[in-house]
């Protein structure tokens, strides 16, 4: 059987990939942020998580911030503010 040579249609990464730093092994005294994407129940979920982090893991402070809406990126000022204030920030989605 004859052969045919074809080219891959898959793109190549345009730049260097980012590495997410490891989560801290110890949470005591840290400030933890939650970036709310505005979808239903995210606030309830993270309120409960925040309580657990404070009462059972010694987290000092919980910061809760909300994006304008679920489908556009967080404003640069909001990201800068959370980066300055928090030791760890969780960005998630809820439905």
């Amino acid at each position: 059987m004859g052969k045919i040579r074809v080219l891959s249609p898959v793109g190549v990464a345009a730049g260097e990939s980012l590495t997410v730093p490891a989560l801290p092994r110890q949470w005591r005294g840290l400030t933890i942020g939650f970036l709310d994407n505005t979808k239903a129940n995210f606030d309830r979920l993270t309120a409960e998580m925040g309580d657990l982090l404070r009462t059972q893991h010694g987290v000092a402070k919980i910061v809760h911030r909300r994006k304008a809406n679920a489908s556009t990126p967080a404003a640069p000022g909001l990201i800068a503010e959370m980066a300055k204030e928090c030791d760890v920030v969780f960005a998630g989605s809820a439905d």
Binding site: K3, R5, L7, P9, V10, G11, V12, A14, A68, S71
Partner: protein, 338 residues
């Protein structure tokens, strides 16, 4: 360096391999050989990138665009339109990351204006959203393959659309400029990309006035389950009038701006009803709209009449359509350069 595969030279073997690798949309492809890709490029530098395409931020090089265009069955004459559409989608205003990754069924609609598109068979007449027209079908399909293979938006992995949409296979039309009573949507050879839902039909077999037809258009444009109006700042509507409806509307003395204004003012729902909508509570409104308390007040669903795009497409018959956008993307136009 692009990976080269050596496969058994049968249509079945090539198709099976591309399906197994998740490199196609589930339909047979034209094998992207070096000769075919070179012809598609038509002298363009293969390594030149138009930018990083989300969600995996891979380089949208001419070569990769050409490979996917070959697979889609495009003729090289279609490639300038495909390139212009990719340039437009990579404009930050289009928010391609959101369009690619959302659970919403949005797909980029490619609207082609100008003589070049017409000369290569991009169709804006009878049945233009449907099958039968190679340029429409393969330009739209090339865009989808590029979004999947270059951007990395595979269903359930990068493309998180809950149900997807038939418009994600191919979504490309021309404006029917010959039968439009108004100036074209855009002047010259231009591609517009619009992050839209599939067309919502407007059937009006009885109205003989602009107000009658546009009342049906306006009603179709808004519904409780729509994104439009919830994420207010980027909400847009596209009204695609069939030529017969357009002739009736224009015959009543309506300009395009009048149609935009009419839809802007009338495509609304009362606040009391909006509180039952599927986005209530997570909506993103400006302060002046949040201050409204009258349940009978009808706040706008798009920021201005300019956010209602009006064009003419289709053939004989009493149908038009409205295409709501996803509301986290704004339409972008780019010239077609050859």
């Amino acid at each position: 360096m692009t990976e080269v595969l050596e496969l058994d030279d049968t249509p079945e073997a090539v198709f099976a391999e591309f399906c197994a690798r998740e490199w196609c949309d589930g339909l047979p492809i034209v094998p992207p050989t070096e000769d075919r890709v070179r012809a598609m490029l038509d002298g363009r530098p293969p390594g030149h990138s138009l930018g990083a395409m989300p969600p995996l931020w891979r380089a949208a090089t001419f070569e990769k665009l050409a490979i996917n265009a070959v697979m889609a069955g495009s003729e090289p004459a279609c490639f300038p339109i495909i390139v212009a559409a990719v340039e437009a989608m990579l404009d930050p205003a289009f928010n391609l990351y959101g369009v690619q990754a959302t659970t919403h069924p949005v797909a980029p609609l490619v609207v082609v204006n100008g003589p070049y598109g017409a000369s290569i068979g991009v169709h804006g007449g009878q049945g233009c959203f449907g099958p039968g027209f190679r340029a429409n079908a393969t330009i739209g399909r090339a865009i989808r393959l590029i979004l999947m293979n270059v951007g990395g938006a595979w269903p359930g992995r990068g493309d998180m659309a809950t149900q997807g949409s038939p418009a994600k296979f191919s979504y490309c039309i021309a404006e029917n400029e010959e039968q439009s009573p108004w100036a074209p949507l855009t002047e010259g050879d231009v591609v517009t990309v619009y992050g839209g839902e599939p067309p919502h039909n407007v059937n009006d077999h009885v109205s003989t006035t602009a107000a009658g037809i546009l009342a049906n258009v306006a009603d179709t444009a808004v519904s409780l389950g729509s994104n439009v109006g919830a994420y207010f700042s980027q909400a847009q509507l596209m009204v695609v009038l069939g030529p017969e409806h357009a002739a009736t509307v224009a015959g009543d003395g309506f300009s395009r701006a009048d149609v935009q204004r009419y839809v802007y003012e009338n495509a609304r729902l009362p606040l009391g009803l909006l509180k039952l909508s599927g986005m209530w509570g997570m909506h993103d409104w400006p302060g002046w709209m949040n201050a409204i308390t009258d349940p009978d007040a009808r706040p706008p669903r798009v920021p201005s009449p300019d956010d209602v795009f009006v064009l003419v497409a289709g053939g004989s018959g009493k149908h038009s359509c409205v295409i709501p956008n996803c509301t986290f993307s704004r339409a972008v136009s780019r010239p077609i350069t050859r």
